[in-house]
Chain length 556, copies 2
């Protein structure tokens, strides 16, 4: 790599031109500091893939320079890649108390907790990493204990916002450090990296308190069970549900593994207050009068195996949704999840429940954790950066964020819309886009990390669309002659009796082998290739389908 | 079937508890009249399926009774199943002039046009089918020439609304027959079937004219090319684009097969007026000054092979989107298509275009063709039905539509929320839900219609997630002994070198065969079953993956 000695480099290993797998890096002299290490969930085209994490080859190659991983908050798109990161790089992880709680759950699952070096920080912590001093500021978001990060470098101050909105009446009363942000801005910010998720949306994000008011009003009106589904990590929202249940004299049951786990961490670490004796076990629900029970559950995104989906189809053992129960889906559907959520809503209505659903603006039961345009402009105004890199978003979001920056005074030409891997270097106060570092998607498929590539996915696509036909041929090694009738097997191709087609495929195979035999073109590879070709064409002509054709030659 | 002589039966073969494949039936005495015959597009879980159409077994079984297919309008979810229907049932098809134009395109593709009996009707037509008189009324929707249908039966009047909104200022000046609806209502409606698509949305649908105003304003401001993507069948919207282009002195090019085909039908049949000499061929675009050109194209739903997607990636031969061009996506994304659309928006912004996108309420470039709650209430108020069946919608939509009906006076208990196949019978003025008729989804997969079922889909799912491992064994017929090393092949499983795993699989196979041999449990089936089992377990333990295991036994 052509990095200059002492140049300050900024780049992303993930998070640009995508939503998910956030991972940013600040490199100065002999140190690389990583900010966040998230995962991303695959879209439907990535068949069989469980997770996507950033390709970390560059870091592994520069192992000795990687000094720290700083984590801004505990959402999956910021912590989901950490176990895979720590398997390759033994580096201290800095995060707040709540964030560490969630990271620990993950490391336990991967049996990595013991050997990992986890360092608790808070917004007043100060770190020295190589020649950089690092400090922090609190931001408000949809999970507790979130940080923005300031790198005080010899070149100047670099600020990373983390994920944020400006909630002036946060439900947990933990305010953002607006004064600290103003101070940093006054001191001078050379470069700001700010998140762009809602850069397309005009206005200011509504306060989380709005959700609390709607939840409480709904609890007040309900005269049977109330079931609330939300993100387990949104502890402010969970707290507001707890409060509403308490106010209406209800006990509370928790359903779903992540709800149980995360609430336990939140209570234990002091982020959530639940009155003594309020929590009950699921099996106790049926023993109580319905107007005395509330349920908090996972599955607000329509995940087919989560608690809400199972409740909606009567498949949650021991817990039933009954007519006149109230179900609140206190979360907007993340793009791509709409159909899963609405099919659950259909099922809940069919059970006779009252269902409150929809985006936050229609139901009042959700607000975004990501700042809208006015929030973003406020951050830019406070920080007054010379240079700006919009991060954490797809291209149109980054694009809109640039326009916002320019509207509040960032000079045209001083915003860098870059890709993962593009490096912005700063030297003598001047930023330039220079080299690139290798980046990419690493696919996690079961225990397979990084071994799934283009070929496998192409095969899976073909298999998923039209299945496969195998033709098994036994030929004699010496004379290259068929020793038996070919055998044809299919999977995922048709449920129809295809004996007719099979007969023709076998005939075609025999003819092909005989022809090749006559022409003396009877090597293993030529035979396979030729059989594949003729059968593919035959099958397509007769069925308009294109299954994978696998000729298997047994030579005896 | 237990139908009583002269009972009036109403049921759906598709369209209830789903969006798509609309097909309703009115059966009286010796006649079954079908209303619409649509298709539905598969969701991602139906691997390899191209289309879904209603299972028509009941109609085939009662072939002699099926007297007519009446088509309310030309959208795919109302006409897409017609070719498959006509292959099984030779029945006259009644539709308006524009609708017939679209049906003819379809029948030509299926080489069915010549033998089909297509009968043109309009809103003043009157048909006599068996003992039923059938008349029609015009409704406004997002495609020209739409009908509602009235069945005058000895039991009373049955009304089917078709798809509708109340647009009081329709862009094509073709008003709905509100007076006729009022008359029918006054005469008396025994049963109303009304569409429910937007029953969840409060208010009144905005007028199509709103889109025209926004389109025109955008054309006025644009100083380079303007590209508009919309549904080809929304001729009112196409007309408004034509008008805006004309007003700003632009020529117009059409891109995308369905845009070219449908616009041709619309011009030829008098539904669209394009000034002489205005249309240009795609290759002429580059010869003209950019401010003199507009483009109308397909692909507003993000379809990966349609014109807009190809334009956005620079893959439309001869046509380029250049910086400062304006792209209008004049259509809201249908649920499920959001991500495809936004990825096109990202690409367009990256090309430097100004992009106007989003739901209609944010961009002003789309209004729904389906009535909101106030539209639905107006229809119910005009018709004053005794009985009501909400149709054309998922459960929550039908549920909300019932509440709307009750709010304007339909008696509680007189609304039937039914499933496809549930029959409502009316006798002596009393409606009851009685028998069911067989219904279902017929999958179209290439040339395969109805042969794809549960097994194939289950196999495709497994293949798509973890691929497959084949183990080929050659054993001697007599001694049941292995005649060679087993051979292991995989597809869609891993891109990793899996020689280690393969070696172990082969060893395991040999061991399994030897054990079975010793135990004398060596029949073909036992061997295959046992090998499958041991390899499945081994592979899962070592990779956390569950590929399809296919043992192939060659006996020699």
């Amino acid at each position: 790599m052509s990095t200059k000695e002492n140049a300050l480099s900024i780049f992303a290993l993930g998070g640009l031109n995508e939503i998910g797998k956030n991972m940013y890096a600040i490199e100065y002299s002999n140190d690389i500091v990583i900010i966040d290490c998230g995962n991303k969930f695959p879209d439907a085209s990535l068949l069989g893939i469980d997770l996507i994490i950033p390709d970390m080859a560059y870091l592994v190659e520069n192992k000795d320079k990687v000094s720290a991983l700083i984590v801004t908050h505990g959402h999956e798109d910021h912590i989901g890649g950490i176990p895979f990161f720590l398997k390759k790089l033994n580096v201290p992880v800095y995060a707040t108390r709540f964030t560490l709680g969630l990271i620990e759950i993950k490391l336990k699952e991967h049996k990595l907790l013991r050997e990992s070096e986890l360092v608790e920080i808070n917004s007043n912590s100060k770190l020295k990493i190589g020649e950089m001093n690092v400090s922090f500021f609190k931001v408000t978001h949809s999970i507790p204990d979130c940080l923005g990060v300031i790198f005080h470098t010899p070149e100047g101050n670099i600020v990373h916002t983390g994920d944020f909105k400006f909630d002036l009446t946060p439900a947990n009363n933990e305010h953002a450090d607006i004064h600290k942000m103003a101070e940093i801005g006054k001191e001078g910010v050379l470069l700001l990296l700010s998140e762009s998720t809602n850069a397309e949306r005009p206005g200011l994000t509504p306060s989380e308190q709005m959700v609390g008011e709607h939840v409480e009003a709904t609890f007040m009106k309900a005269d049977r069970k109330v079931i609330v589904s939300t993100f387990a990590s949104n502890i402010s929202r969970v707290q507001q549900v707890v409060n509403a249940a308490h106010k209406t004299n209800r006990k509370l049951a928790l359903l779903g593994r992540s709800m149980v786990n995360v609430v336990a961490v939140a209570i234990e670490r002091g982020y959530l207050t639940v009155p003594d004796g309020m929590l009950i076990a699921p099996h106790e629900i049926n023993e109580m009068a319905p107007e005395k029970v509330a349920i908090l559950c996972t599955g607000s995104q329509g995940e087919p195996l989560a608690a809400l989906a199972r409740l909606s189809t009567g498949n949650f053992r021991g817990v039933d949704i009954l007519p006149e129960d109230t179900v609140i889906i206190a979360a907007g559907p993340i793009p791509g999840n709409e159909r899963n959520v609405t099919s659950i809503v259909d099922n809940l209505f069919a059970l006779g429940a009252k269902v409150i659903y929809g985006s936050g603006s229609t139901s009042g039961m959700h607000v975004s954790g990501h700042g809208y345009q006015e929030d973003l402009k406020l951050m830019l105004t406070l920080m007054k950066p010379k240079y700006f890199i919009p991060i954490h978003g797809e291209f149109r979001m980054l694009h809109h964020h640039r326009l916002l920056a320019e509207s509040v005074g960032v000079e045209k030409g001083n915003t860098f819309i870059i890709n993962n891997g593009d490096v912005v270097e700063i030297e003598d106060g001047i930023a330039r886009q220079t080299r690139t570092v290798p980046v990419g998607n690493t696919y996690v498929d079961g225990g397979d990390v990084g071994n799934i590539g283009e070929y496998v996915l192409r095969d899976r696509k073909q298999l998923s669309e039209d299945g496969m036909i195998m033709i098994i041929l036994t030929i004699s090694k010496a004379e290259r002659k068929l020793m038996a009738e070919p055998e044809t097997i299919s999977r995922g191709f048709t449920d129809q009796d295809f004996s007719e087609l099979r007969k023709n495929i076998n005939e075609l195979t025999v003819n092909t082998v005989n022809e090749l035999q006559e022409e003396n073109r009877n090597s293993r590879n030529v035979m396979k290739k030729q059989i594949k070709k003729s059968i593919r064409e035959y099958v397509y002509t007769h069925t308009k389908k294109n299954p994978m054709i696998v000729p298997i030659l047994i030579e005896i």
